[in-house]
């Protein structure tokens, strides 16, 4: 990212923080107790994923420094063909943890030459949530759970390709 681009990015981030602070100010004036409960809920959620965030960013650093462009492009880029898309489905299905924690990791792969379809497919297949399937079956029944899981995996590749189709090609 260029220096100018990173400054713009930084301003954008601050803008979001600013906006949320304004919403809180409003919420606090409307319902102070609810607003402080909300702040508390957000904070405890943040603390609960701190370890995960640290681990993911440590991995982001490792990938950026260690893995070469050629390798990522060969496995997850356009030249990998359909196999790359299948790898993406597998990775997405096996990932656990909140999706938003995975975003920076996927973007670091994208910068190294992974195609947009791979990013979108990982995020689509990620909805399988294998570790939650027994609980889902408990509440919704086994047929519902199996069909939902199957559809999630089946639709991941078409969905990823559709997202990629609308993305500009040379934008990295």
């Amino acid at each position: 990212m260029s220096r100018f681009g990173s400054i713009i990015g930084w301003i954008k981030q601050q803008r979001m923080l600013w906006l949320v602070s304004l919403i809180y100010l409003w919420a606090w004036m409307a319902a102070p107790q609810k607003a402080s409960a909300a702040l508390h809920a957000g904070l405890s959620l943040f603390l609960s994923v701190t370890l995960l965030i640290v681990a993911v960013f440590a991995l982001v650093g490792l990938i950026q420094v260690w893995i070469g462009r050629e390798m990522i492009a060969a496995v997850l880029g356009r030249e990998a063909g359909f196999k790359g898309l299948l790898i993406a489905v597998g990775c997405g299905a096996l990932l656990i943890g909140p999706a938003y924690v995975i975003f920076p990791l996927l973007m670091s792969l994208r910068r190294l030459g992974a195609r947009w379809a791979v990013v979108a497919i990982v995020l689509a297949a990620y909805a399988l949530k294998p570790q939650m399937l027994p609980i889902e079956a408990e509440f919704l029944g086994l047929p519902f759970t199996l069909v939902r899981g199957g559809l999630t995996l089946l639709l991941a590749i078409p969905l990823g390709l559709a997202v990629e189709w609308f993305m500009p090609e040379d934008e990295l």
Binding site: G42, L62, Y100, M132, I135, T152
Partner: protein
């Protein structure tokens, strides 16, 4: 498995990878830590903002409200409402199953419930600014929009298959 233990497992695995990395090339491994820390610091304000927003949604949009909104809808509207409510809801999927389960047992249309769960898990309106901050608005809007469409579509398919 709680989110904290998942975090510990990730940290342990990444720690092992770093152990290997340091033995291979200590200088490169240090660079990796610096690179990772720089990305994290860069995104920290956005992360804080998003988590504050998530807390706000949890407090002002409790599960009981979701149930009352979805429970009253008629069939055609229920499908769309299911997808949309799932999209703006935030929280672990674990929280969506009991809601969906009680919707089903109260006679809700299964495709609407399926659309609700699918978009709950993979469409995130609240985390949209964060996704856009990392990937770009174009990608974030495309992915979430198309995923919402896929959630409605697979909800209908699921209704036909069951």
């Amino acid at each position: 498995m709680g989110i904290r233990s998942i975090g510990l497992i990730y940290l342990f695995l990444v720690g092992l990878t770093y152990l290997w990395a340091f033995r291979r090339d200590a200088h490169k491994a240090q660079n990796a830590i610096k690179t990772g820390a720089a990305s994290l610091l860069n995104l920290l304000p956005l992360l804080v903002a998003i988590f504050a927003l998530v807390g706000l949604f949890q407090e002002f949009l409790p599960p009981e409200m979701i149930e009352s909104v979805l429970g009253k809808a008629n069939r055609a509207a229920a499908l769309l409402t299911g997808g949309l409510v799932g999209a703006i809801s935030i929280g672990p999927p674990l929280a969506s199953y009991p809601i969906a389960g009680s919707l089903l047992s109260n006679g809700a249309w299964p495709p609407a419930v399926a659309a609700f769960i699918m978009s709950w898990i993979s469409v995130g309106v609240v985390t949209l600014p964060f996704e856009a901050g990392i990937f770009s608005w174009r990608f974030a809007l495309l992915r979430n929009g198309l995923t919402l469409g896929a959630a409605l579509f697979s909800g209908l398919l699921l209704g036909g298959l069951l």
